[in-house]
């Protein structure tokens, strides 16, 4: 997908998936200019991955619950969590084997 092909844009999406953020907040976290962040957000908005909610003078960006963003963010976390559990199981099995050697 074009919207998430760019690594910076993907990073912006992942940060918004973590918690709602403003452009200023994103610009502090991602090492690119504020106009660049705004452009990435525009593309993400057009792909319905994020949506903007006005707050005061600025916008707060959320994952778009109408689009597939929320689901993708969830699957992303789920598989990350699953692979962590897989690694833990391997490490546990190794410890058991090492104990058996003594």
């Amino acid at each position: 997908m074009v919207a998430l092909a760019d690594p910076t844009r993907r990073k912006v999406f992942e940060l918004v998936a973590e918690e709602p953020r403003s452009v200023a907040n994103l610009a502090r976290t991602v090492p690119v200019s504020q106009p660049a962040i705004s452009h990435h957000l525009k593309v993400l908005r057009e792909a319905r991955l994020v949506r903007a909610e006005p707050r005061g003078a600025s916008n707060i960006y959320h994952v778009d619950p109408h689009g597939l963003g929320e689901m993708r963010a969830w699957l992303d976390q789920m598989w990350g969590n699953a692979l962590d559990a897989f690694r833990n199981e391997i490490n546990k099995a190794k410890e058991r084997n090492n104990d058996g050697d003594h």
Partner: protein, 158 residues
Amino acid sequence: MTAIIKPAPVRKSVTVDVPVATAFEVFTSGFGRWWPASHSIGKSALRSATIEPKAGGRWFETGEDGTECDWGEVLAWEPPNRIVLAWRIRADWQYDPSLLTEVEINFSEAGENATRVELEHRRLENMGAAGEAVREIFESDRGWSGILKNYVQLIEKR
């Protein structure tokens, strides 16, 4: 904009300190030992989850009450390097045999006694095919946003 939304595949990887054959074995026949019990679609709590070791084999969970819920099936079975699974679970947590998303897992050598496991969950755009119905589900508390919220809370508590 009327373009079809095609989310990028979810890609994850992990390196484990065991040979490729062991990593494959634990991932597949040991699936029920490590799969997080919180990731369940059944009405009953998850007791185990199973990947049947053959092409066309079932991928399913077994609840505490013994009921089985299908998740999908094995599309490619190539031990010890690769498996492709069909994940047929909709956004509303229902098994739907007409939905196809694919999970490919590759196991490759990463030095002596180490294996890199790379996972890709793709064709996620198919989940959006149900259109409005799915949209409503996204909005409800029982939908993805609710689940995501619960899930994040769970992670933060660890």
